[in-house]
């Protein structure tokens, strides 16, 4: 049937009409083209081969995940577990190959088998256990993430070099992830269009009971469908890890939502029965183009999220309107068709105006000046510490006449790699990176090195790549100081608990290492429990409340950052600062206030705005060809009630 329509349209109106028809028939494609035009108009760096290949690379992981999710959504299910399964598969590969010496080929097979197994469990729970797909895969989301943390013991594992080539380029220009994405897309299109299982997906998604009564083995098909989704998740995980040369237990966190968004933007219905691989690819490209373009345009990290959300809604809206309009005009000819076409065009115009207007309004308008351009890639802006780095850096940049662009990776190593890549390809003069993960930032920083762009690392170092300088405070030393402070306050004996940072991050590891080192000197201190609370205040509150149930006699708390310390203080209530001494880390404004109030005994203060200031300083020096020190240690100090007044971050 598809062939028929194609033939009749091309025959009737020639090339131009066919293109118009194609665009009208596919709202997502229209939206993509509108975006491409808008981005090219706004940024001179956008429409270059390098950058477009970057967009491809950045879309690859989401697209591969989304192809798998397309199968599930077409059959009227949902798969929330793909992000976690991707991380688990990559972790299994790295763990077996790197840590246990399993031959790489076998390790790859194991990784794919992991994806299949996770999918089969999903499928089994849904088809035979009669769990709603949402619940079954939500459970798998948690289980797979947990298992990847268990296997990796919370730390990233280096990826075997032979597999890491999947993250390289072929012939010096064609990125392998793009190739993998295209191949997986073709496979997905083939499966959906030509195979028994693919055609069954449409039937099951359209009407499961009718499919069953027509002799389709719906339960077995569901097993296969979710297993296929698992295979694609495993492939995405392997590509993701090879780009970063490291398998991260926390990788691809939240990617399932991007994948689902890509599928729906591509024209599939969550009610099942419709959807295509080509649409899904377009959906993933729309997301990647947006992120890339907003980076290039230096749109504020916070506004980026708003813009992305608005564009997702508009893209799907465009498609819905198109469908309503598309139902009529074929036979009606002129009649009502024109008005509806006008609606489609009108909406397309609205999208364009909205995107162009919003981005040009939001971006800082720096591109025209001749000041040196410096990019600052922060791991997250969801934590006051990094916000202070940002404000220190911004103030210094203003003083020195530097155009500073700040990006926020939201603690996602892969997104940070994308952002670094965007800095590199649009020819920034210097890059400051605050790595989400020291190993994972390696490949992207190497690319910047290759382009001869000076790189300054701040707060955390970058492994296996050259940085001109590292500006950091010493986390291990700080950890030791924190342990010493608590132990001395308790007089060398007492019972304490430790709240650890987010598993898998270097700050959490190094601070924990420092705590352990520091406590060795105090055999009288008994550690009752060590639990992670993810650097988060709310989680700090919850975890501390739980620990208090088990250990009401606790006398001291060491928290790996101030946020968790403040959460713990909430849980302790009136005990805080009286019978229980809490020590935090970072010296954030809230933390220092708590020190002044006496609820927080001490905070091991870094000086984040100093970090930011010095980083910009060094970046400019490196750009100007001046000599910079290999490492700049910004001192940490213990802030207590006595010296808090004189301390400023």
């Amino acid at each position: 049937m598809a062939a028929d329509t194609l033939k009749s349209t091309t025959g009737a109106g020639g090339g131009a009409a066919a293109v118009r028809r194609l665009l009208l028939d596919n709202g997502a494609l229209t939206a993509l083209i509108v975006l491409l035009i808008a981005m090219s108009a706004l940024s001179g760096d956008f429409l270059t081969t390098d950058n477009l290949l970057n967009v491809g690379v950045q879309a690859a992981v989401t697209a591969i995940l989304a192809f798998g999710v397309t199968f599930v959504i077409v059959s009227a299910g949902i798969d929330l577990s793909v992000g976690s399964v991707a991380a688990l598969s990559a972790t299994v590969l790295a763990w077996s190959a790197t840590s246990h010496g399993v031959p790489v080929v076998l390790a790859v097979v194991l990784a794919v088998a992991t994806g299949i197994a996770a999918g089969l469990v999903n499928g089994f729970l849904i088809a035979y256990g009669k769990l709603p797909p949402f619940i079954a895969t939500l459970a798998m989301l948690s289980v797979a993430r947990g298992l990847s943390l268990v296997i990796s013991e919370g730390s990233p594992i280096a990826f075997p070099d032979s597999v890491s080539h999947l993250g390289d380029t072929l012939g010096g220009w064609l990125p392998v992830p793009v190739l993998v994405m295209v191949v997986m897309g073709l496979i997905a299109a083939f499966v959906l269009g030509r195979t028994y299982i693919g055609r069954s997906m449409y039937a099951i998604g359209g009407n499961e009971e009718a499919a069953r009564l027509s002799g389709l083995r719906v339960k077995k098909q569901k097993l296969a469908i979710y297993a296929l989704s698992g295979v694609f998740a495993a492939a995405a995980g392997i590509v993701l890890a090879s780009r970063l040369s490291s398998a991260q237990p926390q990788a691809a966190d939240g990617y399932e939502l991007d994948a689902i968004a890509a599928v729906v933007i591509g024209g599939a219905s969550l009610a099942g029965g419709t959807g295509k691989a080509s649409g899904t690819l377009i959906g993933a490209l729309i997301l990647a183009v947006l992120r890339n373009g907003l980076n290039l345009l230096s749109v504020s990290a916070f506004w980026q999220q708003v813009v992305i959300g608005v564009v997702i809604a508009l893209a799907v809206l465009l498609d819905t309107v198109r469908r309503k309009a598309g139902a009529a005009p074929v036979a009606a000819g002129t009649g009502g068709g024109k008005g509806r076409q006008a609606v489609t065009y009108g909406l397309a115009a609205v999208v364009t105006v909205a995107v162009v207007g919003a981005t040009s309004f939001l971006h800082s308008g720096s591109s025209s000046t001749s000041n040196p351009k410096v990019g600052l890639a922060l791991s997250t802006l969801n934590n006051p510490f990094f916000v202070q780095i940002q404000s220190g850096a911004k103030a210094e940049a203003k003083k020195l006449g530097v155009d500073l662009t700040v990006t926020d990776a939201q603690n996602d190593a892969s997104q940070q790699a994308n952002q670094l890549q965007n800095f590199t390809s649009s020819g920034y003069d210097a890059i400051i990176v605050n790595p989400v993960d020291s190993d994972a930032a390696g490949p992207a920083v190497r690319a910047a090195d290759k382009a001869k762009i000076p790189v300054v690392a701040v707060d955390r170092g970058v492994n296996k790549a050259t940085t001109n300088t590292l500006v950091a405070s010493d986390n291990v030393a700080g950890g030791e100081l924190a342990a010493k402070t608590v132990a001395e306050k308790l007089g060398g004996t007492g019972k304490i608990v430790i709240l650890q940072g987010q598993a898998g991050t270097s700050a959490a590891r190094e601070r924990a290492e420092g705590f352990a080192k520091g406590l060795k000197a105090f055999p009288g201190i008994q550690v009752l429990a060590q639990q992670p609370a993810d650097f988060d205040r709310t989680k700090g509150l919850d975890v501390m409340s739980n620990l208090l149930q088990a250990h009401p006699d606790v006398q001291g708390v060491i928290a790996a950052n101030d946020e968790m310390a403040l959460g713990a203080i909430k849980a302790l209530g009136s005990k805080a600062g009286k019978s229980v001494q809490v020590v935090g880390f970072d010296g954030t404004p809230d933390g220092l206030t708590a020190v002044t109030n006496g609820t927080l005994y001490a905070s091991v203060a870094q000086q984040p705005s100093e970090l930011g200031r010095i980083a910009v300083d060094n970046a400019l020096k490196a750009f100007q060809g001046k000599k910079v020190a290999e490492t700049v240690k910004v001192p940490v100090k213990v802030v207590t009630e006595e010296n808090v007044a004189g301390f400023t971050g």
Binding site: M1, D4, T5, Y196, G198, S200, N207, A210, V330
Partner: protein, 516 residues
């Protein structure tokens, strides 16, 4: 030009869909206090016409006048404001809300911003009383039978103070007793001055209830006649030719037993059901609603499990609760709920026709799409499915053509034993006869047909033998010549074995024939 009694006038209405002209130059008018029957085959355009009155579609050309003024109806609420209420075949009720909430959905009486439940229920009780249905306003809609759902819909329409009431095949799912009740209500409304547009396929209802009849054929109004017009004439207007025989059964030579069912039992549902169907034979299954007929055939087909007994096809025993095994042995099922169980509504005609043969057309995981396409084209032409093309969405086909697609997918699979569950429910006379012809062709080719039907004249007219079920058991078997409506009904209301009490039928209404 308008007279005071005229509620609605439609002039030269045209409406097109992709590839189809649904309506063209259709005229229609409705006066106060009359029942105007809209008659036409499925797909003739009746539903499209009423959807334009209810605001679901807007016409491409032509005028609609309400109370003498030209209007463009956009949306259901606008239609309601004009005093037009529509009761569709598929009810628009929310299963988990109460009757009162459904009647006043979106218009609940409020007090201080809160819903005034007391008043709402009192008002609902008055309306239900007027309709004459003994249902508590507080009952959940989910728990009501289909006849009562319809009464609730009527009460809802009354609550809107409708001057025009459109009823789309209200009698299709009702028993004759319920039909009588409905007619009484409609007559009362007519006396109150309400204008009623009534769609039905049962010709005898026209004389009993109608005042005027507008016949629509292939999207055009072909005539307006008084309701007293003889049925033959109505059929001729509707089909465009005269149908000589409503039930053209041509008995074929019967061969060996193809399907034999022995002592089939599912506790509490059906008990000790045994029968056989021979090659070339049509066996009808009659009985009351709730007698367990659908449950038995679903178990035979493997769609549901059973506890005891056996199903054999050509002597070979089938695995229990295994649709694939039943299909492999050559059984096919055309289910009662066409849209819910028979079709993938948003898929194309081609995809639906290819559903059953999907697996056999697969080699090494790949579907022979070309072969499927050719097969679908061939069978669609053979069955005379009226469509814009194989790519048309099945949802947009008329009921009769949808049913042909469901039957077609089984014909493609070389089905030897075809089970038809209410095969002509909601289908017009012309398409019915085509389906009967199809049954003749099947049996002539040596297949066996088992047909459940609540339409007694159909069972009597088309079956070589009639099985009557009552309370989950086979109450008796009648040969074609001894099967009369009285004989069937006597068995249908009997209590076959009283030793154990199977599930009592959900409704005690008797499904008597309403044929002539």
């Amino acid at each position: 030009m308008s007279n005071a009694d005229e509620l609605l006038r439609i002039e030269g209405i045209r409406k097109t869909f992709p590839g189809v002209v649904a309506l063209d130059s259709v005229d229609f008018d409705l006066r106060r206090g009359e029942v105007h029957v809209l008659l036409g085959e499925n797909g003739a355009g009746k539903s499209t016409l009423i959807k334009m009155l209810s605001g679901a579609y807007t016409p491409d050309a032509g005028r609609i006048l309400a109370g003498g003024e030209e209007v463009r109806i956009h949306g259901a609420q606008h239609s309601e404001r004009l005093g037009i209420a529509t009761i569709y075949q598929e009810f628009n009720l929310v299963p988990d809300l109460t009757v009162a909430e459904n009647i006043f959905l979106g218009r609940q009486p409020r007090r201080f911003g809160m819903i005034d439940r007391k008043r709402m229920e009192a008002d609902a009780a008055v309306l239900l009383e007027r309709v004459g249905v003994p249902v508590s306003p507080r009952a959940l809609v989910r728990e009501l039978g289909i006849a009562r759902l319809q009464m609730v819909e009527i009460a809802k329409a009354l609550s809107l103070d409708a001057r025009v009431l459109i009823m789309d095949e209200p009698t299709a799912v009702l028993t004759s007793e319920e039909v009588e009740k409905l007619f009484a209500i409609v007559r009362r409304l007519r006396e109150d001055g309400v204008g009623i547009v009534f769609i039905t396929h049962h010709l005898e209802e026209i004389a009993a209830l109608g005042d005027r009849v507008t016949v629509i054929r292939d999207g055009r109004s072909v005539g307006q006649v008084p309701a007293s017009t003889p049925e033959d004439e109505l059929v001729r207007l509707m089909v465009g030719r005269s149908i000589e025989q409503q039930y053209p059964r041509e008995p074929a030579d019967t061969g060996a037993a193809l399907l034999s069912v022995e002592g089939l039992t599912r506790d509490g549902v059906f008990h000790d059901v045994s029968f056989e169907v021979r090659a070339g034979e049509v066996v009808g299954v009659a009985g009351l609603v709730g007698a367990g007929r659908t449950e038995v055939v679903r178990a035979v087909f493997g769609a549901d499990p059973y506890d005891q007994g056996a199903v054999r096809v050509a002597g070979a025993r089938l695995r229990r609760h295994d649709v694939s095994a039943a299909m492999a042995a050559g059984i096919g099922l055309v289910p009662e709920d066409r849209k819910g169980q028979g079709l993938v509504l948003d898929a194309s005609v081609e995809e639906n026709l290819g559903l059953v043969t999907l697996r056999s057309a697969t080699r090494a995981g790949l579907v022979d799409l070309k072969g499927q396409h050719e097969a679908a084209g061939r069978i669609a032409a053979q069955l005379g499915v009226r469509m814009a093309g194989l790519g048309q969405q099945v949802r947009t086909l008329s009921g009769g053509n949808q049913q042909k697609v469901v039957i077609g997918k089984w014909l493609l699979a070389d089905t030897k034993v075809l089970i038809l569950d209410e095969p002509t429910r909601g289908i017009d006379v012309g398409a019915k006869v085509e389906i009967y012809q199809l049954i003749n062709e099947l049996t002539a080719a040596g297949a066996a047909v088992l047909m459940i039907s609540s339409d007694l004249p159909e069972v009597l007219g088309m079956s070589d033998r009639v099985l009557v079920m009552a309370q989950g058991r086979i109450a008796g078997e009648l040969a074609a010549r001894e099967a009369t409506q009285d004989a069937v009904m006597a068995l249908a209301v009997s209590s076959p074995v009283s030793s154990t009490t199977p599930s009592t039928p959900t409704t005690s209404e008797v499904e008597t024939g309403r044929g002539r």
